[in-house]
Symmetry: C2
Subunit: 334 residues, 2 copies
């Protein structure tokens, strides 16, 4: 069928062992023998059988890239950037195997033999069982995007607190003093972090935020819309609103227009996430960008480091977010 090292051995008049060593550039083999064997291998268009290699070397050349879900809810842009980032690091060193965690009925088949390492892009606490399963099996692992404190697990994510701080600071620097907040979904760590960052900014600049300027949200269009309606019904309306994600910001903007006012002329709005549509809506959205691609690059890089040096680094890495300034915020001159 296909060419094996034994075929090459015959033609070269050596043992298959010598061929194996030659092709792996072992120092044991004479340089000219190597060269002769390489030439024959090329002529025959030899490709090693990776299954055989895997069997004896006890590694799979596979890198798992697992998402919380492929079928429900992962946003396309998020997904795309994550794969791009990881792929740019992995390239041809490993095969990139993409999976949705919710496609697994049992983690039974996830073993050290089938994955040299695994990258989990986690978007939910529900990923905890698989994280523990993988950690317990001793497979090198990095969890991206969500804080995790299982021992022996690398963790790379964006510093959302700091991102929200900058967003808040930006509004203040634009002259805003009456700043409201639409919070994220209760119970989500991201919601807490974003709120904390915002509060720290307000504290830092000595801006006080009355209770009426704080409303809970659910991270969806609807809740942003409703919250903004409430702000608009106040006697003293805020001049700027920080929404804990872009979708709520969109809903909020809609509410402003419906009330006959304008963004950013009458009210400025800031979002969080820099979702794909953020640049396309009118007005385009000023928002905080989580560096997903960079996170996945960094994560893949560190995982590779762990694998190849047989380490078990287990740090948590926070990457800085970026404030994307677009049209939805206007400086306040008053």
């Amino acid at each position: 069928m296909s060419v094996t090292i034994k075929d090459i051995a015959k033609l070269a008049g050596v043992s298959h062992t010598t061929v194996s060593r030659a092709l792996n550039n072992s120092p044991l083999i004479q340089e000219e023998t190597k060269e002769r064997i390489r030439i024959i291998a090329n002529q025959l268009d030899y490709t090693p059988n990776y299954n055989a290699k895997s069997l004896v070397l006890d590694r799979s050349y596979n890198m798992g890239l697992f998402f919380t879900t492929l079928s429900n809810g992962t946003s396309a842009g998020f997904f795309y950037e994550a794969i791009r980032g990881v792929n740019s690091v992995i390239r041809d060193r490993y095969q990139l195997i993409v999976k949705g965690i919710d496609d697994y009925t049992s983690f039974h088949s996830i073993t050290k033999k089938s994955f040299d390492g695994i990258i989990i892009v986690s978007q939910s606490d529900d990923d905890q069982p698989i994280i523990e399963h993988i950690a317990q099996k001793g497979i090198p692992l990095v969890v991206l995007n969500r804080p995790v404190d299982t021992v022996g697990v690398l963790n790379v994510l964006s510093d959302e607190e700091q991102g929200a701080f900058h967003a808040g600071a930006f509004l203040v620097k634009q002259g805003h003093k009456k700043i409201a907040l639409i919070e994220g979904r209760k119970g989500f760590k991201s919601a807490q972090n974003r709120k904390d960052g915002f509060d720290r900014a307000m504290g830092h600049y000595g801006i006080s935020v009355p209770a009426a300027y704080r409303l809970p949200g659910l991270y969806d269009l609807e809740s942003g819309h409703k919250a903004m309606q409430q702000f608009l019904s106040l006697d003293e309306k805020p001049t700027a609103v920080f929404c804990c994600n872009d979708e709520m910001a969109l809903g909020a903007i809609k509410a402003v227009f419906e009330s006959g006012l304008h963004v950013p002329k009458d009210i400025s709005v800031v979002g969080f996430d820099d979702t794909v549509f953020a640049g396309y809506v009118t007005p385009s959205l000023t928002t905080v960008r989580r560096p997903i691609e960079q996170i996945s690059k960094e994560g893949a890089l560190r995982l590779l480091g762990n694998i190849e040096n047989k380490l078990h680094t287990t740090e948590q890495v926070l990457l800085r977010t970026e404030l994307i300034v677009r049209e939805s915020v206007q400086p306040l001159q008053a």
Copy 2:
């Protein structure tokens, strides 16, 4: 280290051959023996070593999903839908290996041993070499999204001509008679197909499209913007414009607003592709949706059929597009 069939054999007091047969549910083995072995296997938490299996069975359990590029230009939504579609069919039968074709420096490593089948989501003629390499190696292959006539290759794509026809027909049915066209990038098959479909619709309903109502485009924002400006400078402006993709439609809409007119009140606009942002822009875009997810499902399904029945079907399958009606088109009452 990890549990093998030999370990199970010892515990069960049989040969490893019997264990192998039992776990593969061979009819040669007595039912009660099977059951006994299964129980032991479960207790030991046995997982077969797929590398060993692959070696002897001569199959990899790998399914390749190749994109023209991961790093430049593939749109996130497109990418996401393709993976979703394929994944929903593949699930746990194969590992899904995602690759960018432009990451390959040599196709040398793409062999029958390493991929049981390959799905190419093709966005460019440049993919031809890899398609031929795979076909020549005899690896089961399906090419999605782009017409291909290499022999022995399955081909699933959307019927863009028909999609454009419906878009055109829709405008006519809304009462429009002065309909203009912004074409796609010259040389792209999609550009030709979309134009053909549009023309067929106009012919079908007896609408004539003067030369001044046809302008070339480059599939980008800029060219859509420019073309619309030209239409607006005409004495007799069109009442509707069909843009061969969404980005150009966006540029066109921008031009309309800049001239002080409104979409859809003064001019209706239709796009093509249903890009992620189509639903979020203002006004939201009426457009033609290519069923990428369905295409990839259908493609994966047929590829699987070929692999499992050892067939070499080589048909071309066209799937219907869908007209997504949103806000950018207004009926004309005159």
